[in-house]
Subunit: 68 residues, 2 copies
């Protein structure tokens, strides 16, 4: 985890592929930014902004703590 | 949520922008596939495969249930 002074925190996750990577920035106001990297590049292939509510739902499904 | 017979379940999340969308496929073996859409297209801009363990960590950070 990396502190982003004045913004929040950043969490980096290296995934299965040699280049797949996900970063989540949790902003102090609750907004989360999801960065997806799939190539050997500093540029993300996708950047998604989620409200706290949206992030909670997506996170629950990913984490497996949501069942229906 | 949509059942994917023989595979698992799919959860779709419409996000802030008019076209931003995230889909999570939770496979019966625990693997999660994260699809990110940012354009008016049926093609995702990114597809990420996460093990159950990886998905749990990313999900916890997104959901805000992970603190350090």
């Amino acid at each position: 985890m990396q502190e982003l002074p004045g913004i929040g925190k950043r969490y980096d996750f290296d995934l299965g592929g040699s280049t797949d990577r996900v970063s989540v920035v949790t902003r102090r106001d609750g907004v989360r930014d999801l960065y997806v990297f799939t190539a050997k590049s500093d540029e993300p292939v996708a950047v998604i902004e989620l409200t706290e509510e949206q992030a909670r739902k997506v996170g629950a499904v990913l984490a497996g703590t949501f069942f229906d």
